[in-house]
């Protein structure tokens, strides 16, 4: 059932409304700043993603790929 809610959300966002155009092209300069990235240090994100998979029992929510290993 979880994915149904998510797909409905996707449908609502898939270009149906101009209300989601909230930032004009000339207003986007700040998003080029590395500290405005959702994952500002790529190397740390990959390394800790692997560590948290090994040290904790949860996964996902990061839209990135982590290959398997024998340490978990």
């Amino acid at each position: 059932m979880y994915y149904i809610a998510f797909i409905i959300a996707l449908l609502l966002l898939s270009g149906c409304t101009d209300k989601l155009v909230r930032v004009m092209p000339y207003e986007k300069e700040h998003f080029a700043d590395p500290k405005m990235s959702l994952s500002p240090l790529e190397e740390r994100a990959e390394h800790e993603g692997h560590i948290f998979l090994i040290r904790e029992s949860s996964a996902g929510g990061d839209s990135s790929f982590q290959g398997g290993c024998g340490c978990r």
Binding site: Y3, P34, E42, S57, F65
Partner: protein, 372 residues
Amino acid sequence: MQIIKIIAASLMMLVPFVNSYASNLKDSLSIGLNTYSDNADVQVYSPTFSVMKTLSKNLLVGFKMRVDAITAASIQNGGRPRVSDTVIGASAKSGFDDVRYAPTFLLAYEEGDNAASGGVYYSKEVDYEGKAMFLNYVRQLNSQNTAIGIGLSQSYDTWNPAILRELPKDYRNESKVDFSINQLISPTFSMQLVYSYMYSEGFLSSPYHYVIQDSFAKFENYPDKRTGHAFAIKGVTLVNDLNSMNYSYRYYTDDWDISSHTASVEWLKDFSDKFTSGLRLRYYTQTGSNFAKDVGAYAVTDQYFAADYRMSAFDSYDIGIPLTYKPSMTSDLKYSLSVDYYQTSDNAYIKSWYDTNYLQAVYTTFRIDYEF
């Protein structure tokens, strides 16, 4: 079948109307060194290397290599660094116990508002072989204020235990589907929603962990299937020209009755035109699995046994300092460094297996990026 339905429904929505614009693909080279060290006598040194080369303005090929040089109690002594191992009978030694090689080949294509990438991953270590493939597609909408994405990965891994033991199943296969939505809220604020569906099957416990009580010893045994769901919301805000705040929350739940909450917040500040640093805090809490009992409470007739603390309830926190250095605004070079301290709460499973009340670790990353 559920996965196929999800993918089909999503791809129907994502049928692109292709525009011809220049892409953001760039040639780049990166080298790095990551480390991990904890009080369970595990040390890992991981050199990394990646090269990305554009074949045209829309197409890029890449190769990434990670090598993990590992000193680990799980290899030396069944995972019990301070306890004599009656099952394996191995003894601790000095030097690296295992080296894991993990190359990844990838291909990326961008055109207009559409970006697709895919690749294959392989890893080899002394007792485990991993093979995986992954695909990602992102479509920009609403004048590039909205981006929706789907990511798929499938792995086919094989166990080859370093001890003489025949496993009930020697494989672990994992599927993962990620849906993401990014939305610009204002010129200084963006958000992301992510949903992940995960399915694992095969031998899902460790071949080395075992439960030992007064009258019996049993290797760990978990259910051979697991389905998990994760929901995450993330945001980043520019507080002013020099400061930004990055925050995220994730809820995870699965059919082993493990659920968790993860919250993270990171502050970043430009200390000069060249240096950016800050502070990151992360908190994690999880419930135990429905088959994990209190330490010492297992019965020989039980179907499932767990010795791994990750099957029990515990908390953890992480404090980290990131640092980036760019020699000049126009430089093609960038240096990134991070140091993090990680600690779990007191846990009876940790005490039983590692002979310490909690785990604590320090991990670091260092990378040099060069764009050419």
